[in-house]
Symmetry: C2
């Protein structure tokens, strides 16, 4: 026993870490690029890379085809992703059962940010990355954004730069590493690893990457369509300073409510052939819902210089209408709280995850007799109640022009009572930060909004 | 804003709670039944309830039949559970693909223990409950053990006693409430709510129930086949006192390792018709593996007085051979550690959960060229290395004579190195107690062993 008695143990928690992130969030200018120069740098990267995206007929997809017998849209390599059909059955209204196309990509990718101290302040290595589905094409991305196909070379392209920091434990110290879901309305049980790694030693520079403090990223999160979804979800996983001064509901009450929400919903999501989903029609250029709602499956050709390969075609999901995604907030007992919603999405691995108070595309609901809960409290809010309002894009590698208005909107007792209706509960940002250390509590939209809080882009 | 400023907040954590459980774990005799009288009380309950279990041919199952077209074993009500086929495909040896029968029961049940202070010490309300699959029929169970079919009256039986403490928030304060998996080798994505609720006000007594301190339950956990699986998994969710004095790996390292284990395994589990699983044969009395391994599907008739209904027939899974389920333990830097194993089981909702170091039925492995890792380190251990060795039964409502030897076995560097092989990691009991507050980290066998630590049945 003498040999093991000499082993030195680690503290279970690194108490300094949240303060180091807080310091980065308080450092308005970094050691490298000035915030006012970031837009110019991004424009420069955009100009440096030829990049053109054109809509093409579905039949012009190269390497993609509609599979015999199922009509599923598949790649000839059997990799990347497929577009299949999904039938979702729930016990609850307004939708007891529906059918839809869904993206299936069972492999788990890595979304990772390398961090490193300069002048005693943590900086994040951010990438200027082209994605075909972004309206402005190029946005600020994590250091690494790799599907497993990427890093096992399914498309025979170049290596993914800086990937070794996430796969080789000797290159850095892991600060966060958790599986998080992606859009449950569009992806079937898709998860990615969200990682933050502190690099050991020098990190070689590259012209498509820059070091920014958390405060600089926060400033960019206040601008439309600059920080991409992958960066936002990783930022949400950064440790939050302090435990918070109490909450309307204790952590155990919050967990118990979440458990009861998962338990009370029966959701059955079955994969079915794409050509057997009622209510959807395949045309020359797209697959569409018969009433023109929700989204379409479209095809694009891409010409680029900075991607791992220089040209390709692919399907994308193109949502109809602009989404509205918002947390209602209240100070309760002096402490900011957010109204979380236990949401069913057909593609979730486990029934329910916590989303923002409001997450709707209003144009999809105009045909329904009942307005979605709390939507009007967001849409009718005057400027004095709006703490944050920015347009962000969803994953530009899978979604075309998928934009939402992300908001924090202050509410009062008449708009959002403390005794929340079934399916809703008030929680503090610290409580949500605690949950996001674990798998599949918060959906990707809630994580985008949480990233605005962890980075300091919004202070409630 | 004045109205909400006056709201009083809850502390996020109840700091006193772990100490109250620790006090109960230190109180050898309770305010009610003496420990030495528990066995007699259980015998009395066993005698009071006529209860007989007989094997019957599959064709004699009443209300159950093999469904046309699939061969699945189903109940005519469409409820309770079904026995279906499962095809599991993994990327890794020794089993790249296998087929098996599996129990499908998508509804989420409640396993709950009511606790209450007597003389300032928490007592647990435990039930003497008959289950047809237990060799000794009656074991000590949680206060409530209810499938949703139970409490929505699918079998038109009596109400489930004390259920209201888990469904009506005014009757008690929730101390733990989490979804946990059940046997991933036998159940398809089965979860139950594991709940501990502190009762408000008097709790009416009943002859099949008794109040015991945690120390009394711990004493019973040192005896063979007394505390049932449902009680053990709920006990594992009790809060552990103290944060522990550090660990070989920080919490972030532990979570990162777990995430990488989930990410590196591709597991596809597909439900298929029961009559289309190769290697299994349906006879008059059972469905068996062709080599006589793993388990059989059998049928029993049950006559009882104390169940919600007085007689029924049902299928049960009957494992072949006695399981061996063990944590290897080491004191590292003076702190006890357990060697956790990231296990694939076909029925897990999410690929991998943490199991004990060893979880095998040795007789199922005699035909393989390679011995399962660490099995010999457990089987060859002399008495001086064995900290705990007790026979426990798995769920007697679904499994017949499913027994395992549960052990804690002390190891050294030659048997179990600090630098554990891939798929294994050293963690402290406190770290595992932290994980068990959340869904689907620890499998049911690991939770049984953890319950021995949280209750104080074993002190490492």
């Amino acid at each position: 026993m003498t040999s093991t008695a000499a082993v030195s143990l680690s503290p279970r928690l690194d108490e300094r870490l949240p303060h180091r992130f807080a310091r980065s969030a308080a450092t308005a200018e970094g050691a490298h690029l000035r915030t006012e120069d970031v837009a110019r740098w991004l424009d420069g990267r955009r100009a440096a890379h030829r990049f053109q995206v054109d809509r093409i007929p579905l039949a012009d997809l190269d390497g993609w085809s509609f599979q015999e017998g199922t009509g599923n849209l598949v790649h000839r390599s059997g990799r990347f992703f497929t577009v299949e059909g999904l039938r979702v059955t729930t016990g609850s209204s307004p939708y007891r059962q529906w059918h839809q196309p869904i993206i299936r990509q069972p492999e788990i990718g890595i979304l990772g940010i390398v961090v490193k101290e300069f002048d005693g302040v943590l900086h994040l290595l951010m990438q200027a990355k082209m994605e075909p589905g972004n309206r402005n094409l190029l946005q600020l991305s994590p250091t690494v954004q790799a599907t497993r196909s990427n890093y096992t070379k399914a498309h025979r392209g170049a290596d993914v730069r800086y990937l070794e920091y996430f796969t080789d434990r000797s290159r850095g110290r892991v600060l966060a590493d958790v599986l998080q879901s992606e859009h449950g309305s569009w992806f079937y049980r898709k998860s990615n690893r969200n990682m933050i790694v502190e690099a050991v030693g020098d990190v070689p520079p590259h012209e498509d990457f820059c070091w920014l403090t958390l405060a600089q990223v926060a400033e960019l999160l206040r601008r439309d369509n600059v920080v991409n979804m992958d960066a936002r979800t990783v930022l949400a996983c950064a440790p939050a300073a302090g435990a918070g001064a109490g909450a309307l509901h204790s952590d155990t009450e919050l967990l118990s409510w979440f458990t009861s929400e998962r338990a009370r919903h029966d959701v059955e999501a079955e994969r079915i052939p794409l050509d057997r989903i009622p209510g959807w029609e395949r045309g020359e250029w797209s697959i569409d819902h018969e009433a023109g709602r929700y989204f379409s499956v479209v095809a694009v050709s891409v010409r680029a210089g900075s991607r791992e390969v220089t040209g390709w075609t692919q399907p994308l999901f193109e949502p109809r209408g602009l989404g509205v995604t918002a947390f209602l907030t209240r100070r309760i007992g002096g402490v900011p709280h957010l109204l979380a919603h236990a949401r069913i999405e057909g593609g979730f691995a486990d029934t329910v995850e916590l989303g923002p108070t409001v997450q709707y595309t209003p144009s999809n609901h105009t045909h329904l007799p009942v307005r979605p809960p709390f939507l009007d409290a967001v849409l009718d809010a005057g400027p004095s109640r709006i703490r944050y309002e920015v347009l962000h894009s969803e994953e530009g590698g899978r979604f075309l022009n998928a934009e939402s208005r992300y908001l924090f909107v202050e509410a009062d007792e008449t708009q959002a009572p403390l005794q929340a209706p079934p399916g809703y509960l008030w929680a503090t940002p610290h409580q949500l930060s605690g949950l996001v250390r674990h798998n599949h509590y918060l959906n990707v939209q809630a994580r985008t909004l949480l990233s605005c809080l962890t980075s300091g882009a919004v202070r409630l």
